[in-house]
Symmetry: C2
Subunit: 213 residues, 2 copies
DNA sequence: GAGTGTGAAGTGCTTCACAGCA
DNA sequence: TGCTGTGAAGCACTTCACACTC
């Protein structure tokens, strides 16, 4: 209810831990220490323990963590004890790749509705879903009370308009692939995936640190 | 040569600024202040000035920044005064979306080589490039001296092996789409794009802050 | 002994406040 | 006056050091 002083990055790290815990569970491992889990997730042992400590005490001194139990705790923590429905806007290059990507459904994220403006894409089927005309976006999302997460995979020019429709339809989280700053009100969480931006970090790194040890 | 105390995030922010400067240039604007640029890029005026200040003094007191000049400075800074060649490993969902995405080439990032293990994908053409058998990956990248950046878009199980081949072939930067921790030596820069991870931040946010003002 | 949980110290990034320049 | 550039202060996150538990 009341979140004291939790670094934003703690959630990302815990999410990485969950990924590794799932692997451990599949391998049939039943106990894990913070050091082991950290090695798997690319974190230090202290980071693992500290991040967990923001949410409670999950371990047993001297013995580490119970894999199955830890998995359940973290899943509940991250809200993964239920499935989440997603609306995808844009069924172009990236959008259709996301539709075909099985990882989402496996992780409990279900693309429930897809919209596009291009008549050539409308009515196309991807598994269980059919691409609809973006004109119906706002109404469809409004009436489907469960959808709180949206993915924007439209060209930069259309992204802001789409974002505004989504916000009006009560979307609370937007994963944005368009290379543009979305202006939305404070209650909405936006995460940007900007590949050119990532690559520019590389070109900077390569240009400046050309010869570092 | 010697980089003092530059926050890692400064490069990302400057990259965002460049995106907006390009827009301003297209619109024919010739001057811009840190406040304006910040508004466009989603930053504060101080952030903009501070980030620039790590690299020099680009502005004119009282008058702001010259758009064309600033663009050139930042492009050189980020190493965008030349084109960068990229090797893509994996021509599946995500890989083929990246191949069709025009944004990279526009930004000076050119996918020069593509590899896959699937015989059904090998020999497929995407624009100028043809998918090759991943067996030839290491040799091809080694002999092509210009490629320092790689994108991994293969299943999680294969990603580590591919990464090791890339590192042996002298790749210095890896953009990794596989949901797995790549273990590479310190000189190699890895950036991970993990969509499930991003979505889990959303589900956490929605589960905990369900009712916040 | 092995490993957790955490206050306290340390570090690095951000923001403030203002000097300086056109 | 309008805006840049930056040392200094403030803040948030990370790491350390160790008390504590099984």
């Amino acid at each position: 209810m009341d979140s004291k002083k939790i670094p934003k990055s703690a959630v990302t790290r815990i999410s990485l831990c969950l990924r590794e815990i799932n692997r451990l569970e599949k391998e049939g491992k039943d106990k894990v220490s913070s050091t082991e889990l950290g090695d798997l997730a690319g974190l230090t042992d202290v980071q693992v323990r500290k991040d967990f400590s923001y949410f409670g005490q999950f371990g047993r001194s001297g013995a580490g963590y119970d894999v199955v139990q830890l998995k359940k705790i973290i899943e509940r923590l991250l809200g993964k004890d239920k499935a989440w429905e997603i609306v995808l806007v844009g069924a172009g290059n990236i959008g259709s790749a996301l539709l075909r990507y099985p990882g989402f459904k496996n992780q409990g994220f279900i693309i429930k509705e897809v919209f596009d403006a291009d008549t050539k894409k409308i009515d196309k089927r991807y598994g269980d879903v059919t691409v609809k005309d973006v004109k119906g976006l706002e109404d469809a999302v409004k009436s489907s009370k469960n959808i709180k997460i949206a993915i924007i995979a439209v060209p930069a020019e259309s992204a802001q308009v789409v974002a505004e429709q989504l916000v009006r339809a009560d979307i609370k989280c937007i994963l944005n692939f368009a290379p543009v700053l979305l202006k939305v009100n404070g209650g909405v969480m936006v995460k940007n995936i900007d590949l050119s931006n990532e690559l520019e970090s590389f070109s900077f790194f390569l240009s400046s640190n050309g010869n570092e040890d």
